[in-house]
Subunit: 184 residues, 2 copies
């Protein structure tokens, strides 16, 4: 049993926010992906959170969960198909202003990122830090882990290696523009 | 609210079954995919069934679902990465001996199959009919729909266009062997 949303706190009201209409990162990505589907650009979905079902009952309309628990995703949150390629990514928000704590990405997710890289999939992180949203390539993330003893990625690393995703009207977060630039 | 497992009945005991140890098709595919991951061959997962959460409570260990409903998958059940390619498929069992009722595949899933094909993903169905397991290419499935008024796919169509997946020890259902033959 886990606390899958515990680190996804919304920005504090007194902070300057560059994000759109107070939506959280997950919402912003969901509506961006919806827009990409509408214009037939990409088919990328957030995976449903896996549920452990403890008790069920039945009513006239079918099976009802009477007790259930949120389980941890062993892969990354979003995956799909873009320009013939497999794409997978994780989205995280940190309230930490100086670094991104690596505890946000679980050990089995790190292993999964390595697997996707080895099998030629496109894999990255989308991280909201200091209210800026960066795309960080999976390969740069793994390089950082493999060459550092640190428990967090300092903010300057995102400025150096990450790609800033700009907010827009539609899509809200045009992260595929960055994907086009760096993977194709 | 839906009945996601309503058509996945297990074979009757008095039928000759070619399936492994009485597992159902979903279990067979899950352990096959697990094996593929173990040997670092492919990263293909069953998507969790999406849940509509109606009530939650909190205990010391986190959020608990007190009432929830199974929702319908708008995509196909399994997706992932194989040999650098995006792969997605749906698995169905029919108890019907002479044909596969098209009602098993929802309208939005058919649309999704067309989208995946248009964007160069690998997409197919795995269907247990008459206790034989066939892989049917998404393109052949769509051709059937577009050129027929029928409400079901007759069994001879599977024998003609489908690819028989044989049962083995590990993996239980080596469907990637067929994928190798027809997509690479």
């Amino acid at each position: 049993m886990n606390y899958p949303n515990s680190i996804k706190k919304k920005p504090q009201k007194n902070e300057i926010s560059y994000s759109n209409r107070g939506m959280d990162l997950e919402e912003e990505l969901n509506i961006s992906n919806e827009y990409y589907r509408e214009i037939d650009k990409a088919y990328i979905y957030k995976k449903p959170t896996p549920i452990g079902v403890a008790n069920v009952s039945y009513n006239m309309r079918g099976k009802v969960i009477e007790k259930g628990y949120f389980k941890e995703q062993s892969t990354l949150d979003y995956n799909g198909l873009y320009r013939g390629k497999y794409i997978e990514f994780e989205a995280k928000v940190t309230q930490n202003r100086t670094s991104f704590p690596l505890a946000n990405i679980h050990e089995h997710q790190i292993k999964h990122i390595r697997n996707i890289l080895r099998h030629q999939g496109i894999v990255f992180l989308i991280i909201n830090i200091n209210n800026f949203v960066y795309l960080l390539k999976g390969s740069d993330f793994i390089d950082f882990i493999d060459t550092n003893e640190r428990k967090s990625i300092p903010y300057p690393f995102f400025k150096e290696k990450g790609y800033l995703i700009k907010y827009g009207y539609r899509p809200t977060l045009d992260y595929l523009k960055i994907v086009d630039e760096i993977y194709f």
